[in-house]
Symmetry: C2
Subunit: 344 residues, 2 copies
């Protein structure tokens, strides 16, 4: 990592987060509101990147202390083809925000827009870490009624990986689990179609011995159920399977929650439905996408935190908080060390 991007190089010691003001279904309103709240609640500065006039319109009382603006004339839409959009729209908020980190104007990039474009711009502008072939996205998985969190790596950055890329991701994921959750010795599982060592498709069978040989904390194959229970802290998979699993998990939990709430609408349960609904929402709060804090792009020479497409102001605050935590713990250096370290 270039020294000018290290947090201790910033003039007044405050962390600066570049935030894509145009990204997400609720941009720019919720994003700008999230920026203002993050300055207050997280205690960092925010560089709002996007169409300055539209951003100013969301701040009728002027630009608050701690908020800075970086004008960018273009917007990459949610449905655009990522790589092409990043190439074509060089003055887009996503590209400019990634460049702000590359150029040392900000310590981290937070975006809720086109996920593929946010990843592609970060990869292209930050560059890869030494020894990392492709990036991966680390998606936090809450567990019901537990403080413990898991990380799924890769949640969708890279499909069709080579076996050794998953080894790199396992190491990066461990480093990040330590930074984000304070876990000094995260365990790693290989997401497969059975627990026995011989299980898996061709990719998994090739990856398993590599993980055994070179990843500390490897516990073997894990299954889809282990996205919902604490078998391993880091679950490694290819970006295709990871994406399918994440959306399957979300869909299944929503379906079950929907079933419960529909039953609570029945007249028989009217007396308790109100308080029970509130209590259930509270107990399930960790699962609301606004509360997960976003996903980190692993394997690149800079910090990029991706929040979900319908992020509210609260989601932005949580994602900014994760980004600042990553800056303060120097998660990039921790990742670089993890892939360069030779296991004992």
């Amino acid at each position: 990592m270039a020294p000018d991007r290290r947090p201790d190089r910033h003039p007044d010691g405050r962390v600066v987060v570049a935030l894509d003001a145009m990204g997400g279904d609720r941009a720019p309103g919720e994003i700008v509101a999230g920026a203002v709240a993050a300055v207050r609640e997280v205690g960092c500065d925010i560089l709002l990147v996007g169409r300055a006039a539209e951003i100013r319109a969301e701040l009728p009382d002027g630009i608050p202390d701690g908020i800075h603006l970086l004008d960018a004339s273009e917007v990459i839409e949610m449905a655009e083809e990522p790589a092409g959009a990043v190439r074509a729209k060089r003055d887009s908020s996503i590209v400019r925000a990634a460049e702000a980190v590359r150029d040392g104007r900000a310590h981290a990039f937070v975006g809720a827009g086109n996920t593929g474009a946010t990843m592609a711009a970060s990869l292209l502008r930050f560059g890869r870490l030494r020894g990392v072939a492709r990036p991966a996205i680390a998606v936090p998985l809450p567990l019901a009624l537990s403080e413990r969190k898991l990380l799924l790596v890769d949640g969708g950055a890279t499909t069709d990986p080579e076996p050794d890329w998953l080894v790199q991701w396992a190491k990066l994921g461990r480093a990040y689990a330590t930074v984000r959750y304070g876990n000094p010795a995260p365990s790693v599982g290989l997401l497969s179609n059975g627990e026995e060592p011989g299980k898996g498709d061709d990719l998994r069978k090739a990856v398993f011995p590599l993980l055994e040989d070179s990843v500390t904390g490897f516990v073997g194959n894990v299954e889809g159920r282990d996205l919902s229970r604490p078998t391993a802290d880091v679950l490694v998979t290819d970006g295709f399977t990871g994406n399918v699993a994440l959306k399957t998990l979300e869909g299944g939990m929503l379906a079950m929650a929907g079933l419960v709430f529909t039953v609570l609408d029945e007249p028989e349960f009217a007396d308790l439905a109100g308080p029970l609904r509130l209590r259930l929402l509270e107990a399930a709060a960790d699962f609301l996408p606004d509360n997960t804090g976003g996903a980190l792009l692993l394997g690149v020479q800079g910090i990029c935190v991706i929040s979900h497409g319908s992020s509210s102001a609260a989601a932005i605050v949580n994602a900014v908080r994760v980004a600042v935590q990553c800056v303060e713990a120097d998660v990039v250096a921790a990742q670089q060390a993890a892939v360069e370290r030779v296991p004992a």
Copy 2:
């Protein structure tokens, strides 16, 4: 299909189901109890395959009408490596049950034991359908508060498929959706990491145009969420991804249900917790593994229905019911016609 396996060839017109009496965590007790109940409730005959002495011990009042015994001295355990076990244990209940179907002594095979061995024995003893390269397993997916059911194909029979195998599975899945759910025109989705036509890993990108060209009812890419909502009736995927998705779905729904039931234990909700629990269990009954009726092995010249490993007697009755339905609708002929039909 050989004529002697057709249902109309059976002497007295009753369907005979070969049931692996030794298969599953609760065998032989629950399996034998399920057989007795199935004769009464489904109206078929059952050929119980396994160690005759152990089966007889479960029937202290003698062998009821409609129950027949086929002695098999060996048992393939749940954790055994499937292909090796099928080769080595030629007198196992699984191999003998598959042979009973092949030899025309039974119309269908139902097993709750080692899934891999049940599939391997059926594949080896029945043989493949013409035009089918590899089998796939069709797993029923209930939807919350809906009568509509989906089928996931392949739920785990074949990892690392060639692109055209998924096309065959799509056709087989459609034929089966028609038999099992009476759906005259099932839609087909390709499980991918995004809805846009360009999404997917290399396999998905190769399969997509083939499905477009040759599968009626193809609606394009679907996502993990579409395992829990009615976007497509048949979801086609490779057996690795399918297995991960199924277990992820199960884990997520169980986690959410567990959270709800834990909250209901709180003193504040004691008044309604009892009736609400019952009502929730009733509303979610379709999701209980005992109630899905089992999964059908597609692409083979015979009927093999696989029930889950902890099957109760009720699960066995449901699986036998599905098997009989498959016999009566001649699902093997329907599958053969589907893969041989050239689309208009």
